[in-house]
């Protein structure tokens, strides 16, 4: 027996405007991402989305032919934003290795702000159901990896990264590191914050990549905040 919440729900009931289809589509994507962020992708129903927007469930299907089309559009939307953030961070780097670091933390903080993203990538039920989603994510990952490998190549050319490092593998590890951190922070919930763990873990990766001169030989080349924790 659920009350209809006569007055609480209709804070601005008269505002129930007809919306331009384009705007509504964006709203639906937004709602889907918000819901997925807090409850996981798979548990979000079209009814939930409709409720969040004050629509009926059927109305959702005027704007998207299929529920998976909503997720597809959502991933497209997210890709645009992520790439913008990451590219902006990379150009701020003083050198290729620094750019890589800035990219890493920009990516991590973006994901921390938009928890729906990893939930979509991790949901193999979603990816298995709709090939388009899988292909899109493959495409995103591949492009991203190429970008990282490019920076690593530059770092090697500049004498910052060791020659023996395989760019592609290092790029794979770069992304894998992020995915692993995300997964763990999602499993441990509040007990492990993504940005904090990222801060502790990245230096180890960096030390695996870069040219480094040990104490036993001569003075350190670049003193990169050490023993911070």
């Amino acid at each position: 027996m659920r009350e209809e919440m006569t007055s609480t729900e209709g804070v601005d009931k008269p505002r129930r405007r007809r919306m331009d289809a384009g705007e509504r589509q964006e709203e639906i994507i937004r709602a889907a991402l918000d819901l997925a962020a807090s409850r996981g992708v798979e548990s979000v129903t079209t009814q939930d989305m409709a409720d969040a927007l004050g629509l009926t469930q059927g109305a959702i299907f005027r704007h998207f032919p299929t529920k998976d089309d909503i997720w597809l559009a959502a991933i497209h939307w997210v890709r645009g934003r992520l790439m913008k953030v990451v590219d902006a961070a990379a150009t701020k780097g003083e050198n290729p290795l620094d750019a890589l670091e800035k990219m890493f933390f920009a990516h991590v903080s973006f994901i921390a702000r938009h928890p729906a993203i990893p939930r979509m990538v991790f949901s193999d039920q979603l990816l298995r159901r709709d090939t388009r989603l899988k292909l899109l994510i493959q495409e995103i990952l591949t492009g991203y990896e190429a970008k990282i490998a490019g920076l690593l190549g530059q770092a090697k050319a500049a004498g910052l990264a060791r020659q023996e490092v395989d760019e592609d593998s290092a790029a794979t590890l770069f992304i894998g590191m992020i995915q692993g951190l995300v997964l763990q922070s999602s499993i441990f919930g509040g007990r492990r914050s993504l940005p904090e763990e990222a801060k502790k873990v990245f230096p180890i990766y960096l030390d695996g990549i870069r040219v480094r001169v040990p104490d036993s030989c001569h003075a350190r080349k670049t003193e990169v905040k050490r023993g911070g924790i």
Copy 2:
């Protein structure tokens, strides 16, 4: 219109034996894991399990009160096997760092043989639905991390790993690396094999951890197959 497959199905219909409850439970767990490996956890229904065993769907619930109890039992079963494999690998290491490497590859090949495992860990719908599952996985991860951190501590004491490396972070990265690799191999399917990627990526991690002497100073301390790819 699905045919009843009159004769094909009943290859050994008279053999329809009543089974000991204990055995049947194990069979169900096995079937659940097999199905999850090939089709993803969430899409496995109790009907699927029953079909795989030649039972009716209702019969499943004589052995487990709830579907999630099946997953719980499955994770328990998997934990036992994984820990055995990993511990055995670790004791074969000549030194702590070598043990770490052997653990890594043992873990990776175990997962490659049992693809259901990452699917369960990654399924946040599953973990969100049943707290017991989440807690169990947290417990497994925590224990595993402690084991790795311990080995890293020994490696430091033995002068094999750098003193500045934070054991806990390095352990987090160790596990994160595996999770990231698994995820990518699941997204890229056949195009990227887990063990192959693992082989390429681990050396980078190792170089982030261990004491290393550059060419410019004196001869390499330990030549660990370099430039293999």
